[in-house]
Symmetry: C2
Subunit: 469 residues, 2 copies
Amino acid sequence: MKINRRKRAIQFTGIGLVALATIAAATVPAVADEKSDQSRKGSAQNVILLVGDGMGDFELSAARNYSVGAAGRLKLDALPERSTVTTYSVQESDPSAPNYVPDSAATSTAWSTGVKTSNGRIGTTAGTDEDIPTTMELAKEAGLLIGNVSTARITDATPAGAMAHVAKRGCEGPVQTSASCAADAVENGGPGSIAEQSINLGVDVLLGGGADRYDQTIAGGPYAGKTVTDSAKDRGYSVLRNAADLSTAKQLPALGLFGGGHLPTELVGPQAAPGGVAATCTPNPAFTADVPTLEAMTRSAIGLLSSAESASKQGENGKEDRNEDNRDERKAAGFFLQVEGASIDKQDHAANPCAQIGETIAFDRAVQVALDFAKKDGNTTVIVTADHSHTSQIIPATDKDSLGATATLTTADGQPMKLSYGTSPTAGSQDHTGSTVPYLSYGPANVRVPSLLDHTDIFGIVNKALGLS
Amino acid sequence: MKINRRKRAIQFTGIGLVALATIAAATVPAVADEKSDQSRKGSAQNVILLVGDGMGDFELSAARNYSVGAAGRLKLDALPERSTVTTYSVQESDPSAPNYVPDSAATSTAWSTGVKTSNGRIGTTAGTDEDIPTTMELAKEAGLLIGNVSTARITDATPAGAMAHVAKRGCEGPVQTSASCAADAVENGGPGSIAEQSINLGVDVLLGGGADRYDQTIAGGPYAGKTVTDSAKDRGYSVLRNAADLSTAKQLPALGLFGGGHLPTELVGPQAAPGGVAATCTPNPAFTADVPTLEAMTRSAIGLLSSAESASKQGENGKEDRNEDNRDERKAAGFFLQVEGASIDKQDHAANPCAQIGETIAFDRAVQVALDFAKKDGNTTVIVTADHSHTSQIIPATDKDSLGATATLTTADGQPMKLSYGTSPTAGSQDHTGSTVPYLSYGPANVRVPSLLDHTDIFGIVNKALGLS
């Protein structure tokens, strides 16, 4: 494992200083929960961080109306602690200056490292291209198990920010890295593509799409001439290719690649259009039984990580040891899992309300899996957030002059809901937007957080819960 | 005072039942704050409810970036408890069916009465036009002082929903009521216009615009032939006409009418336009020294209500009595104040980012006044929320193909922030939207609330804090 390929030289100036101050504030909350008295002494053993990509309040409101009605509740609405999160990134040419509309690379880097970077960067500093240690790396170093799950390519920006360091988010496989991130390429002495780095780090569970990236051939170093997938097998990884493989997986490390690119969405329907369309959402034929749901991937990842955790504890101690004061052993046996619902964002870009809402509902089911585990386990913190807000807006059903492309869906209430997409022409890609996004949490030490957080604060909150700080 | 002009017959079916259930959930929070131990036995004496009209997370994010920078904090960000609120209204033709994009009349009615109604209605039921008691009326009946402050006409929908009952929000003065709300008109045996009802109820402090409505002539009943303003004077009201009057006001009841219609915005600038404009925000020349700021109106209202409260307590007891267990006297001396920042919404409708942001900042200053009082007083709860989300979005500064009208402002960071308005053509009125909106609170019994509320829940939360339930 080679975390810092270059001298770490993060400049805590300007925005950096503010970010650091807000981390400190968040990790020492002024107010703690009555309920948490009994578990306040120890840190939580496990953390599951679930990220809805592009899941702002509009996307959640649309999914709520559609799936359970305006007075209904999503699964994630049950998480008791709420805050809201500023998402801005910084500028490559001047890292002290904010960029009000971030991308997933910069935001994932922010919560994974505590440091803001510029759009497109993965785990590296704006302007200076230095690697910044991530929670997943710190957890691995401390002996915790780590997992990364996404409905996108598992090398896509949001999962990548948790486990890799490249100058450009596109450098997902060896081919792209040779072409676009020469300094990162293994043949030039670099740490390799995002796919290579995920295996080098030894992420214990990797589940998602992106087989096309892992099946590329490594161009240098000890695995030269092999695919990333084969190099993973050499290092003990089970490679899973479909839902059946996943359901029978029993051991770590596991690399599940369930599609060449991003996984298909669960629902499909018409794209919003100028003047409006009536949209009926239907199951996606491409979402076959071979493709695991995000819910299934989350359940399997938790199962594999928590079973291994138990095995590890039994192995170390001869018997299970849940002594609260035995901090070193608890640290060694916990896990950190990141789960991304990726295509809320991708379908918002595409102005496709059915697919966007279907992926929000799919993400919500994964939250329920995490919450069920945490409640049963008693020692797991669940955090739900988003990387940035997006384009979709709920406008009056009677609206006739929206400048955006619109689509009208019939909700669980049996009523029309009109969504508008207006940040780009329908033929283009709708834009990310710059609002704060939701933050929700549940945990045994249900630590209260300030009512406004920044993404960089999540780094401190997660590390503290894992016992890393 | 004539609250129920007709038999109260609220139908608790469909959505009504759900709303009632969520009120129950909200008024018996599962988790309370450690800090609140000492004050948990008694209810808070005073409640200040501040409503940013149209103030969704986008509007707050834009105001934050503009005024204090992306890493800065608004005054309202300091309120420790956060939730988010569903805002939907119901349909006039079928009150069991939601309308996903509400107006201010329906939402103000919802938090003021605990019952959802249809867009355009003030304190009356959808379909059946029955009056529904409001918190302000219940507070008055219990002997508390009540106040209502807005930068709009004080008869506009948001303040109106707290204190009046008419079938149509436009029935603000006697003339409109005769024309459009015949059943409500005094000459037909009704309770009169919103302006008349505000005086009949005896709202102790009324501050805002709307002199044009109050200066209309009453067409029936005991004050026939007089203006509403003169009828108020007959009943002991001091009438204030400018900031100087306000600053020297010493007694209740007080009717402050600081403009004929809505009060002017603090900032002005260019309207967003297709293809984009560069917007520099400047002070509004119409916002003269005669016009009080929302901050000044809030400070005066609190001053008048809290001084009268002290006088009342001293009068009743011979000396000040703050015995925590003396509940009846505490109830008799408390106050409920609603404060609206109205033109965040009105300038979002107008696609005018400078005025919209200026009014958000002005609202934020009023929140600080309420928070400062509550911290000093030790027995006041402050709640900040919004009635509905709106159109404005922060999009990438580099965007070139937004379908909406756009404007680029230079923020406190010295960086460009681009806002887009795309729910209607620029020449029209931009639409309300249907996202959840922020909820923030501070109080001596800083009661935790579920992470998702409905507007109707606020009715229960406020009444409980006032000791009315």
